[in-house]
Amino acid sequence: MAKTYQYCVAENWGKGFIDHDESHRITFVGYPGNVWQVPAYNKHGNLWIAKVAGVVKTKDEAQTIVTAVIDAAQDTWDADNVDGESADEKIARLGDKPADITLTE
């Protein structure tokens, strides 16, 4: 099956990392671990990855990076407790427990 997305790792340096024209032409999705998803087989996606010197990753490689960050965030969330605090109070204090993320081929 042809893939729909491609992934790369690139650090957002700020202004110009994703410009208005690029954002209009293609859909960017950023994931934990500086993982970025852009459309596969797409000239504008390829040009953007080249522009940001993105390190291309397979979906599985990208998933490993994202999962590692989420696992660490979940562990941190689990370990952050206050005596006598209810579940609702913990969510009010910390926000919801970081949810698992599954990347799409």
Binding site: G14, K15, I101
Partner: protein, 328 residues
């Protein structure tokens, strides 16, 4: 082959600069750059802007896309900050700090005449910013955090939030430039909502959550200076979302959908209904209050599973843009 003149009855005119008063579909030849250009429809999208010096979440915002303010907020690991930065359209520069460190506050006004109020610890503090430094002014009647706030330095409105006793209150207060006055309550009590507006007589308050936690809200209410009226709901229920704009032209962006996690969803409010538009590429919760308008807006900071964001996102929704025609 048909010629332009045959179809339109006029020749393509040549200019050394972009012509004035362009209309959609107008075509001209740019003699300076030797390219054919036309006026096309604009395209709404988020682009990245210069990164904040201090990554943060739940800070107040004020100003415009090219003259913005990020006021206070929450910084790693979970601390309040006094840090304030101003944005010039390209980069952030640190300016005078808040007197009282706090996150979960809201702001109003411009880069040189702003107001910051409320915040974590259930603060009632209100501080006025003159472009250089903050000065404490009259307190809120009800100390609160995670509320909706909007307006300008001399005229603002707040509603909802957490007063330390109740997570999700309905009380509202109006600022006249000197003091806060209690006004009519929201119809739906809630916490972690967002607002937009230009004065204490024109605002909207939307999103948030009601207890128990994670009962996320789509509710949107409009304030006319006297009462809150329920108007069209958000498409996606969320809390701790970002907002910018005025009561008839606003953006709602990012936020937490509860167990479904953070989102980058952006919705545009035209005074009647919300329409889903382009997402922010970095989904995040604990959004900072944005600044600017729903045609030229600014979002910054927030919280992701990776940690606190220092990213900035610039929203542009141009009605018309000049486009160059590729001619081989």
């Amino acid at each position: 082959m048909s010629e332009y003149k045959t179809i339109h009855g006029v020749k393509v005119r040549s200019y050394t600069t972009d012509p004035d008063n362009l209309i959609l579909g107008q075509v001209w030849y740019d003699k300076t750059n030797k390219v054919l250009q036309f006026q096309g429809a604009g395209a709404a999208a988020w682009a990245t802007g210069g990164n904040l010096n201090t990554a943060r979440s739940l800070s107040a915002g004020a100003g415009t896309q090219t003259a913005g303010l990020a006021i206070g907020g929450t910084v790693p690991p979970d601390n309040s900050t006094v840090n304030t930065e101003k944005y010039n359209g390209t980069a952030w520069t640190e300016v005078g700090n808040l007197n009282t460190a706090r996150g979960q506050l809201k702001g109003a006004g411009t880069q040189t005449a702003a107001l910051a109020f409320g915040g974590v610890g259930e603060s009632a503090n209100t501080e006025s910013f003159n472009g250089t430094s903050f000065t404490e002014v009259a307190d809120l009647n009800t100390a609160r955090r995670q509320f909706a706030g909007s307006g300008v330095q001399a005229s603002a409105i707040i509603s909802g939030g957490n007063d330390g006793t109740t997570v999700g209150i309905n009380s509202a207060e109006s600022w006249n430039g000197t003091c806060w006055t209690e006004v009519a309550n929201l119809n739906t009590a809630r916490n972690a909502l967002a607002g937009a507006g230009v004065s204490n007589t024109s605002a909207i308050a939307f999103g948030g959550y009601s207890t128990p936690a994670d009962a996320n809200q789509v509710a949107n209410e409009s304030w006319n200076g006297t009462a809150w009226t329920e108007v069209a709901n958000l498409n996606t229920a969320r809390e701790n979302l970002g907002s910018l704009g005025i009561a008839t032209a606003a953006l709602a962006f990012a936020g937490s959908r509860g167990p479904a996690g953070p989102t980058g969803f952006t919705e545009n409010w035209n005074g009647t209904s919300w329409t889903e538009v382009g997402d922010i590429s970095a989904a995040h919760s604990n959004a900072c209050q944005g600044s600017g308008t729903n045609t030229a807006g600014l979002a910054f900071g927030g919280l992701t599973p990776s940690g606190f964001l220092n990213s900035t996102f610039e929203w542009n929704d141009p009605t018309l843009v000049v486009k160059t025609v590729d001619v081989d």
